[in-house]
Symmetry: C3
Subunit: 290 residues, 3 copies
Amino acid sequence: MSVVTSSSHPSSGSISPAAAPGPDPAGAPTPGDLAGALARLREQAPLVQCLTNAVVMPLTANGLLALGASPAMVDVPQEAGPFARVASGVLVNLGTPHAAQREAMREAVTAAEEAGTPWVLDPVAIGALPVRTALAAELVERRPAVVKGNASEVMALAGLGGGGRGTDSADDVAAALPAARELAARTGGVVVVTGPVDLVTDGVLEVRVPGGHPLLTRVTGGGCLLGAVVAAFAGSSAPLVAATAACAWYGAAAAAAGRRPGAGGPGSFAVALLDELAALDPATPPAGLA
Amino acid sequence: MSVVTSSSHPSSGSISPAAAPGPDPAGAPTPGDLAGALARLREQAPLVQCLTNAVVMPLTANGLLALGASPAMVDVPQEAGPFARVASGVLVNLGTPHAAQREAMREAVTAAEEAGTPWVLDPVAIGALPVRTALAAELVERRPAVVKGNASEVMALAGLGGGGRGTDSADDVAAALPAARELAARTGGVVVVTGPVDLVTDGVLEVRVPGGHPLLTRVTGGGCLLGAVVAAFAGSSAPLVAATAACAWYGAAAAAAGRRPGAGGPGSFAVALLDELAALDPATPPAGLA
Amino acid sequence: MSVVTSSSHPSSGSISPAAAPGPDPAGAPTPGDLAGALARLREQAPLVQCLTNAVVMPLTANGLLALGASPAMVDVPQEAGPFARVASGVLVNLGTPHAAQREAMREAVTAAEEAGTPWVLDPVAIGALPVRTALAAELVERRPAVVKGNASEVMALAGLGGGGRGTDSADDVAAALPAARELAARTGGVVVVTGPVDLVTDGVLEVRVPGGHPLLTRVTGGGCLLGAVVAAFAGSSAPLVAATAACAWYGAAAAAAGRRPGAGGPGSFAVALLDELAALDPATPPAGLA
């Protein structure tokens, strides 16, 4: 797998400082940055608080455990806030936003802002669905370190409060680039647009990360888990490195899972994905990263 | 696998029109009807809204994805109604009916009725448990395109409002035939009674679908997923064809999973089931269907 | 696998009678007791009501099914109480204690007490998180047949109302022994402290159960499932036998899963664990038990 980078303003590669520790490279992340990010994650076993949808909780928690992080699905009001102060990273995924969870999300985001805990927003299926769309519009103003979505979600989120351009349900990654840049500028953070090639931008620098596997789209929560992986990396790497490392290593694990002889269908692919996340080795990055 | 059909009134094989598109055969579904139903499902990738229990959400979503449908677990009040208007089919499964989900179910069913979206009722474990039993009695009057349950559930549901015959917890499929017929007549739709041989009836025609595998009863959500598969087929086939195709193809996938050398236990069987759902091929129906 | 037993008061090996049927041995459980416990479980297929966290529901239900029990995730208010009267055992796991589930837990525990249904308390992550900690302090006074937790959880629970010793987040099993004994004396039941070697005590007798596999800690719900397995055994064995049998047989299944050639990662290990739970045979107990 290779990581292709570009920048519209290469000389001003500023990255949102947010609250994340770890090095803050002046330019696009290098393969060495990505290897270092995984090594730190494995060493620190970051506590990742997930307020996520009911469908993907098991895969999300298992994927984080396999990767080397420590998942905690603390999404009950009165607990979510205190926990976000001590977590290494927080994921807010809007897939099944029931009332109590919405309350917990607001608590967690407020606490994360105050404590400097980096948090990730995954605005699942926003656009037409009213409850999550309003919640996303509210939360995006709270400076998520990273926003991760597919092209339609990113375009919908950028449009909210930015002129009401609405959403396009059949968008590709390239079409979402202007929206991603605008959103990154507005949040002061990083935006990931997922697709066959993922796009990562802080509004200035752009990184394109190929990899992955078509079967990943046949596994429920394959995209949601990536959001949690971003939150795990954000605990010990600056947002642009964290988001790029998450896409690159996750894509490498998916590609490796797809190469397994037994993983010819979505069931066995999902099992292999967890095995491959556990088998990722910072010392031997996937071919394209070297 | 063979599909055995019979009819108490073969000359009047009427099928509930409901809102489903697709052919409306005058008699019991033929193997060709079932192959056509899968081909249409694969071509259209129907959007299936699932309001289902918390335990089986991952398997349900993964099973639908494997089959070729597009699952959407939209079960939040204020979102469930609007989504049911655009979905191809809706599943309402009463396995863990928390208050907010009950509200979302009523919304979704009302919208489905108005928009003509076919919807499937799975009255999980009704009879003794008061919350879901009352809800099932209410919802069954809203003309589900298909009701799917085991013998006890179907007998309990038919008894509700029909004379209070109550439920019998150790019923077999044959014993539930009168209840299934009555229920189909009352809803104007189709009723599926699951068991070693599934029974499908529209109140007049009866289809018996053997197949499946004993390990399916050792996988949590093995029955609940079938309800979602019925909803997926109902998006592009009339209810009797949809229900029969769902039972036949799902049973074929389960039987194939059981034949895999590695699938000797419930864990590996569940993985193989997803792989086999993805591998189903309309052009090469399972032996018994030909 | 061997089961090592010891007792601080070997001559007074009394075991909480609770409501569980089955033999009530005068001393620490023997391998024969454990074989008998599994044989009874398989014969009776106990109905195990689980009020557990959203993350582990699928694994919990699948693990119980694989073992030979009948899981029922009935956690809705107004249903949880009536069901606890007819269940063989009840699990109350505090992992994601949303408001409606808390209400259902109180209902279930009250009904279990009245009906004599043995119930198991798993005080997940109590200590710092306020909602679950308060709930655990309330429920532990309701005489759970078995409390199951890691060392930190057991120490936190023993400290509640017992002098405020608070919790220690890096405790090992040996350090939790005094807390476990005190807690057992207070509840009149049995306490399990999980770790590389599990500790089971009724306040007088102590049993140490080695076994298991390191990959079990990389599977979400690996510990939560053990709590459900305890509840399954508690339906037909006295608490000390039930808890010991659960740890021993579950550990045996995990060890066997870890020996499988293909189970080198957490994904395939979890699949193998379910297969091995189904393959457990009372007639051929694992080597160390003989």
